[in-house]
Symmetry: C2
Subunit: 190 residues, 2 copies
């Protein structure tokens, strides 16, 4: 039996992504978001939505670029901190001891210790309400050798990304693979 | 050591969401997507990106509404099928035996057997490239009693959503919780 629980942002699960940017003075900053997703294959593009009040909002407006550094579970606490503190008041890289590395392809830094990095150039900005959505063209991806198979594909269990559950505010690791895409559903074909 | 693997849509992990819609004749259709995410808190809004060639694209254009039915792992094969077959050629509800239920709040059907349903009205349409992004205001959420705690919050392990890994084309279930948001990072505060 279902019941109505009203209008809310309970889309499960949401990603945990760390958005890197430079401010006007060139200070590297990083902020964790759960409001985002891939939005296009050609050009490859990913969205991140931010409140105007965030430091990162101003940085992206200034530079027109950002990175998405995808943390592995080993860095869950650092990623959480990146969503708690503000770059207005502190240097989150210094606080956590993680390394801001300048992207070679876009005007933004990424988190050196994280295994998977998307370098993005802003191609659209959409005002929706409390949040502004930036659409970034993914101009390059950097991946740690340790998370790639022989074909150069990212291995989920090695990258070890994790997700966020809005309602109970918990992070969850991934478990086991449960089947192949465009395959396990073939049995329903008539 | 990181290496560049080019421009691609490798944002890990992506959700597995089943988008419900009616066509011009009122036939219910459902399609699985991985390109989407929450994009705003006020109004609560969620994006889904579709190629113009899909049947669902025309349905959403026609009706200005869609649902997002979030499958639990028990329905992984059905969800996969919803991404393989096209509503142009078949009735995917009939093929899988799942039930199209008319939403009471928007002009779209949802998958009755799935535990978590977002009812959405289109408030923006953004042409990006191969994909068109629909931004839908979430006007209501339906949740199965079995996935809610006493506070009415969605429990991740009961909802049992799963994610998709683009590179290796595998679905992955969630595992264990690894900590609380806005909490496990506090130790880095200066």
């Amino acid at each position: 039996m279902k019941r109505s629980i009203g209008a809310d942002t309970l889309a499960y699960p949401t990603p945990v992504w760390c958005v890197g940017s430079y401010d006007a003075q060139g200070k590297p900053n990083v902020m964790t978001i759960a409001w985002g997703g891939i939005c296009c294959s050609k050009p490859p593009a990913v969205t991140v939505s931010l409140r105007k009040a965030t430091y990162t909002y101003g940085c992206i407006k200034e530079r027109g670029a950002y990175t998405v550094s995808i943390p592995s579970t080993a860095y869950a606490a650092q990623a959480d901190y990146f969503g708690i503190a503000s770059g207005k008041h502190t240097d989150k890289f210094e606080d956590t001891g993680l390394t801001p590395v300048p992207s070679e392809t876009v005007d933004a830094p990424y988190v050196g210790e994280f295994p998977l990095i998307l370098a993005c150039k802003v191609i659209h900005t959409l005002e929706i309400g409390l949040h502004t959505q930036f659409v970034g063209e993914i101009v390059n991806i950097l991946a740690g050798e340790e998370i790639l198979n022989a074909k150069g594909q990212v291995l989920m269990d090695k990258a070890a990304p994790f997700v966020y559950g809005t309602g109970t505010r918990e992070y969850w690791a991934l478990g086991e693979t449960i089947g192949r895409g465009f395959d396990i559903g073939k049995r329903f074909r008539k």
